[in-house]
Symmetry: C2
């Protein structure tokens, strides 16, 4: 039996035990994991050093090595994340609906764990801990397949966490790490219907597309964000400037950052230079339409392809439109249904934008950077869903649950 199948089978067996645990039993395991990680930080850093050395030899970029690196402070922050998960309310068992039928049947709909979650991700070792914590808190087992560049770090993290939960009621088999770094192990996970209940990919576009296009197990897609902000005719300049600048520059590498700025022509005629000046000052490359270039110097021409690109970088498209309708049409044609914003003082325009834009999160007069589990008050998140089924937008703990109907009768039969 392959490693993937064997470990997934162990996880599925452990899922039956997880389903019976109380919140207290699960929290005890999370806190034990947190303590063990901080206690054994040196062991984790030693394992991480092997990954870092291998990465450096392989010519990995410094920014990638930085994402991979574990320090004592980072380990403490990761452990603190587990403690925060322990403090979140447990969605499992929550009564969602309750009703009695005329025939006397009493029907309850309650939240239950999903079962076994497959996580496929890249080389950030913190995802190993976050995913384990979120899955265990919700009564799930997890089969983790991280990037090969972090394999030694992940092995050490999982060993420490499994040892920690050995003294609790959470079965050690609830946590599984796939160590086979061949791509075939990913592809095997994607087809493991019956053992894995859901696959959640986290990483770059190529990783996510491979999962979406090849999985037969249901997937929660955490996809790309080509996010827009539309500055309407009636926008206030002093509100528009910080919102747009924050959306682009506060952290360009993330999915909820701005890629394309749309500006109403009347607003542009009066304010385009002032709107764009902070970006020039911050060395953001601006690719614009011809009308933008006619108003402001220093604009490179934007191509149709640019409008469909998630830069994740200090590059921004700017396009002038003549109406709200034109802005809506541009976003419908180029957006990825992630986070979209309108800056306007016109309430009717705001309502139309919020109603008509098809996206996980739609904003009036605020930065798109708020699309985030912590910013929404949900706590740690397993990702931001860009699909429409099951969960959309920042996923709190309830996104890691399913439901079950419990029906109480006293002999009812169907006529």
């Amino acid at each position: 039996m392959s490693e993937v199948r064997e470990k997934s089978l162990l996880a599925k067996q452990a899922a039956a035990v997880m389903n019976t645990l109380t919140t207290e039993q699960k929290n005890k395991a999370l806190l034990a994991m947190a303590s063990a990680l901080t206690d054994q930080y040196q062991l984790l850093m030693d394992a991480n050093q092997i990954d870092l050395d291998n990465g450096r030899k392989a010519g990995t970029s410094e920014s990638m090595l930085d994402r991979l690196a574990l320090t004592k402070n980072r380990i403490e922050a990761i452990a603190e994340g587990l403690r925060q998960i322990a403090e979140l309310p447990d969605p499992v068992g929550e009564l969602l609906e309750q009703f009695e039928r005329p025939n006397g049947l009493r029907i309850e709909k309650r939240r239950v764990p999903l079962g076994v979650i497959g996580m496929i991700y890249e080389s950030r070792p913190n995802v190993t801990v976050d995913a384990a914590g979120l899955c265990l808190k919700t009564g799930n087992c997890v089969v983790l397949r991280g990037g090969s560049a972090a394999l030694e770090s992940n092995r050490a993290i999982i060993a420490v966490m499994k040892q920690a939960i050995a003294g609790t009621d959470v079965p050690a088999d609830a946590l599984q790490l796939i160590e086979d770094s061949n791509r075939s192990s990913v592809n095997e996970m994607l087809k493991l219907n019956g053992l894995l209940d859901v696959i959640i990919p986290r990483g770059g576009a190529a990783l996510i597309q491979n999962v979406v296009m090849n999985a037969t197990v249901p997937v929660i897609e955490t996809g790309a964000g080509i996010c827009h902000t539309y500055v309407d005719e009636s926008a206030q300049l002093e509100m528009a400037v910080p919102i747009v600048f924050n959306a682009k520059v506060q952290r360009p590498s993330v999915c909820n950052s701005l890629e394309t700025l749309l500006v109403h022509s009347a607003f542009a005629a009066d304010h385009m230079q002032q709107l764009l000046q902070p970006f020039f000052d911050a060395n953001v490359e601006i690719r614009g339409c011809e009308r933008t270039a006619a108003l402001v110097t220093g604009i490179k021409p934007a191509t149709a392809e640019d409008y469909r690109t998630e830069y994740n970088d200090y590059i921004m498209n700017v396009k002038i439109v003549d109406s709200l309708d034109e802005a809506l049409a541009h976003i419908a044609a180029n957006g990825t249904q992630h986070s979209e914003c309108i800056v306007t003082e016109n309430k009717a325009h705001a309502e139309r934008f919020l109603q008509e834009i098809d996206a996980a999160a739609v904003y009036h007069n605020a930065s798109t950077r708020f699309t985030d589990g912590f910013e929404f008050g949900f706590g740690a998140e397993i990702g931001i869903s860009t699909q429409k089924l099951h969960a959309r937008g920042p996923m709190g703990l309830p996104a890691l649950t399913s439901t079950k109907f419990r029906i109480y009768g006293n002999g009812q039969i169907r006529s």
Copy 2:
């Protein structure tokens, strides 16, 4: 451009209009469709006659022809179904969550349409109308791909319904019928990410498996039911007999009917003959374990394969177990997570069964035949989901919606 792509694109364009309609506008279209179907029943029956003649020539069984046949009464019942859908509450726009963050951001989570739903189904023309009605009510567009055996019927139904909504605010393009009866049109739908938001298959196991194993568009699986009823040691005979008999015999062809009866050995020793006698009287074939055969005559031996078979017929497996644990283990190994029942007077056993069984619907002392949208009070259903993501069990109208976060700010930026 292929027929599938062209019609899906038209549906996607229409989805933007559907998203802005009020409940009243949608209901008006549903009622117009209902009236048109009853008014033009002769046209529908004429088209249906062509399908029936073709089917008869092709040697289609009488039971299949019966499922395909439209009569005036059946058309009236189908139209009545549309009127009932019009009367159901509209989930679109429902406020699911509302909260304000410390920074003043006001966040709403509201139900929105899914967008474009692809339905892949077999030869019951009533599904064409039901699916159209349920999808339009929830603000969705639908691309219908029915069985080729019902093509003339479906063409006529869609023509009548499109004509009916032409006089309303619902765009005619919201309803699309794929007329290409090659299997390649199904396979093209399964990969139409970006145009179709979800695929819902309805039909036999082969159809559903093809969809689940080949779709890259998210799927809601409406799968097989290998349902069990476990008669515990403490069960009352007079309650157990009708529950078990109803679960098996009331309508054996459907997914929530009983396939395997599990009986505690102590109950079996006293009552097995009385428990099974009604099945012998009804000419149900019984395949049993050796212990069952030792207690009752007329039992064929059950194989391991029998326990994993959805008969959908007058055949039932019977197995004697020595404990609740053995019953739970058998169901975990052989069930399809659809509907499972325990008949018992022991409340602790009932609670363990309802907690530990991993299924969409778990019953205490009632027939599994109640797993049904109408029986739960949800009204017409698009199907019964056997997956854990998005919707599980009978799917009411909310299962045909997604959600959107609407965020109202006054200049908030992220620090």
